[in-house]
């Protein structure tokens, strides 16, 4: 069994009886875990679960009382062409984060983790990537998302969760969020990508103690054809089975970094 198959086998442990994937083995299926696993494994059963889990408004997520998570953009990258995808894309195109960095009522907005909240780095990256890959005619929303990513970029390049400055103090970038944001910006915003790429290239080893950070970095470095890509991939292979209690998201990223799933996320 080659390394990527070992990772895929570890990931498959989170597959639930209903075809979806939970956040960890034996957990109930959830949209985000299922969507990323579906991309990683090209898993038709996971896609079927997603089709059954679509909300009436076309979105995907977890309803937690008065809070609803929004995993629709990521899920769009896992869905096949068809009405369900179009309904989901309609939702992505028509929703946005509350004004985040431009002041009250002012763009850019990006996309939020939960419906109605501010736009942040990772969900905005998924929004941009989903529209670039599946509905490239949605140029105004793509442009807004890119503007939001520019506004949320850290000084010197890269991204953290989305706060480049807090109370007059510059905040540092993180590897994991930078890697995902780069998947959204590469090929469409060269200066933003270049500064983020420099940060990722320089710092990915600093955070490789975190498997999710390592796996996302390996995926982005591979798409960027970075000279460190093979080294990062080798570390993913080495640590996947040696790191206890990895969640579905981390393992799915590892599978994507090593396998064919990366094609769905490569907009370069």
């Amino acid at each position: 069994m080659v390394a990527s198959e070992i990772v895929d086998a570890l990931l498959a442990r989170s597959r639930a009886g209903d075809g979806g994937f939970g956040s960890v083995p034996d957990a109930e299926s959830e949209p985000e875990s299922t969507a990323l696993a579906a991309i990683a494994l090209a898993d038709d059963n996971a896609v079927d679960w997603l089709l059954r889990a679509q909300r009436a408004d076309g979105s995907f997520g977890i309803d937690a009382g008065g809070v609803a998570s929004d995993d629709t953009a990521l899920t769009c990258l896992a869905l096949p062409d068809g009405p369900a995808l179009e309904h989901a894309l309609d939702h992505v195109e028509s929703t946005s984060g509350a004004n985040a960095v431009g002041g009250p009522g002012a763009p850019p907005y990006g996309w939020s983790w939960t419906i109605g909240a501010h736009g942040w780095t990772e969900p905005t990256a998924w929004g941009v990537l989903a529209l670039r890959q599946r509905r490239p005619t949605a140029t105004s929303r793509i442009d807004d998302g890119l503007a939001a990513l520019r506004a949320r970029a850290c000084v010197g390049g890269g991204w953290n969760y989305g706060t480049p400055e807090s109370f007059d103090v510059e905040q540092p970038p993180f590897v994991q969020t930078t890697a995902i944001a780069l998947l959204a910006t590469m090929g469409i915003d060269d200066p933003l990508t270049a500064s983020g790429h420099r940060m990722l290239h320089d710092r990915w080893r600093d955070e490789d103690a975190g498997f999710l950070s390592l796996a996302t970095a390996a995926a982005a470095l591979r798409v960027l054809a970075d000279p460190d890509a093979d080294e990062a991939a080798a570390l993913v292979e080495q640590r996947a089975s040696a790191t206890p209690e990895l969640g579905t998201i981390a393992l799915a990223w590892a599978s994507i970094a090593l396998g064919e799933g990366l094609r769905a996320l490569d907009a370069s």
Binding site: V24, G66, G116, V169, A209, G210, L212, I249
Partner: protein, 345 residues
């Protein structure tokens, strides 16, 4: 408390405070309650409690006998964890080398050891960092992973562990229910272990605010911005009312003042504060920080239903809080907080 963290008897109910007066006070400090609902909690879920106990203990460094300190504190407040499944919830919002952001792993290790020596059936440590999706990075980088390996204690990543919706019995937000990890809901004893810090949105962050880190980011995001949209103070009240920590152990050995909770200045205080009522622990700690607990909006409100914020009603063991007051520089936007502190010089 013998394996029932939902038992309320440890808290002291301030019977003398009328609801209308309390609503007026809360409104005056900015927490506007729903006009039609002056008491936004279910009285059956928050019955009148017994006494609240807080122990204030000196601990000059992380290299001393912290197990002894924690044991002294737990015994002083009469804690009973025999046979209980204990979950320790430190504060690990993110990692920055050399900062005082996080609960120190050595205190967590000491708490693990102390709980076991008092007969806990199991002790695990759980956290859902609010800024970093990669929990393992924070746990490894902060040194907590090595510490827990040494202690042979399990770490639960609350960001990804199984979770389920739990109905709220308070209504400060419009959430109605919270998605809570089963590691929290199935623990007999949840111990909130915050860092003693100022906070630029809430004034201070202690054992109540630390409960934010029980909620999984995969539902609420990184950061958990949905909770901010509900109102941070309101969210603190609803979340703490749902998590209901049985015990609190505050890391005040090296604390953080000024622009907390991330970019503040480390401050040597040399204290560990332990109690069986998180509201009482936070009120006592706020007083030690030089801030009048009545000026901390959510803390005063928590004193109406969740515990005791009235310092005169808290049974204090160990050091006299008045004798160890160490005025903190307030967080930005809370400049007037220290000026009205009870006992704050």
């Amino acid at each position: 408390m013998n394996a029932d963290r939902h038992r309320i008897s440890r808290r002291t109910f301030v019977r003398g405070v009328g609801a209308a007066a309390a609503v007026g006070a809360a409104t005056a400090v900015g927490l506007k309650l729903r006009g039609s609902e002056p008491q936004p909690w279910d009285p059956a879920a928050f019955p009148p409690p017994d006494e609240s106990h807080v122990a204030v203990l000196r601990a000059s460094s992380y290299d001393g006998d912290l197990v002894g300190v924690v044991l002294d504190g737990l015994r002083a407040i009469g804690a009973d964890v025999a046979g209980a499944r204990v979950l320790l919830k430190p504060n690990l919002v993110e990692y920055d080398r050399g900062s005082a952001i996080n609960t120190d792993p050595r205190l967590v290790h000491a708490a693990v050891t102390a709980m076991r020596s008092m007969g806990a059936a199991s002790v695990a440590v759980g956290e859902a960092p609010g800024h970093r999706r990669d929990t393992r990075f924070v746990v490894e980088a902060s040194g907590l992973a090595d510490t827990l390996q040494d202690a042979k204690a399990e770490f639960v990543d609350l960001n990804i562990s199984p979770a389920a919706p739990v109905p709220l019995h308070s209504r400060y937000t419009a959430m109605g229910a919270l998605w809570l990890p089963t590691a929290i809901t199935e623990a007999d004893v949840v111990v909130s272990m915050p860092k003693m810090k100022t906070h630029h949105w809430a004034g201070i962050t202690l054992s109540l605010k630390n409960c934010f880190g029980c909620l999984p980011g995969r539902v609420y995001g990184w950061p958990k911005n949905a909770l901010h949209w509900q109102g941070i103070e309101r969210s603190i009240l609803d979340i703490a009312g749902a998590v209901r920590p049985s015990l609190a152990i505050v890391d005040g050995i090296v604390a953080m003042e000024g622009n907390g909770p991330i970019d503040g200045t480390p401050k040597d205080v040399g204290l560990v504060i332990i109690g069986d009522d998180p509201v009482a622990v936070d009120a006592t700690t706020s007083h030690i920080m030089g801030f009048d607990p009545d000026e901390i909006t959510y803390l005063k409100e928590a004193g109406r239903f969740l515990g005791t914020s009235d310092l005169s009603r808290i049974q204090v063991r160990g050091e006299d809080p008045d004798a160890v007051v160490t005025p903190f520089a307030p967080a930005p936007g809370f400049d007037g907080l220290g000026a009205t502190a009870v006992g704050g010089q």
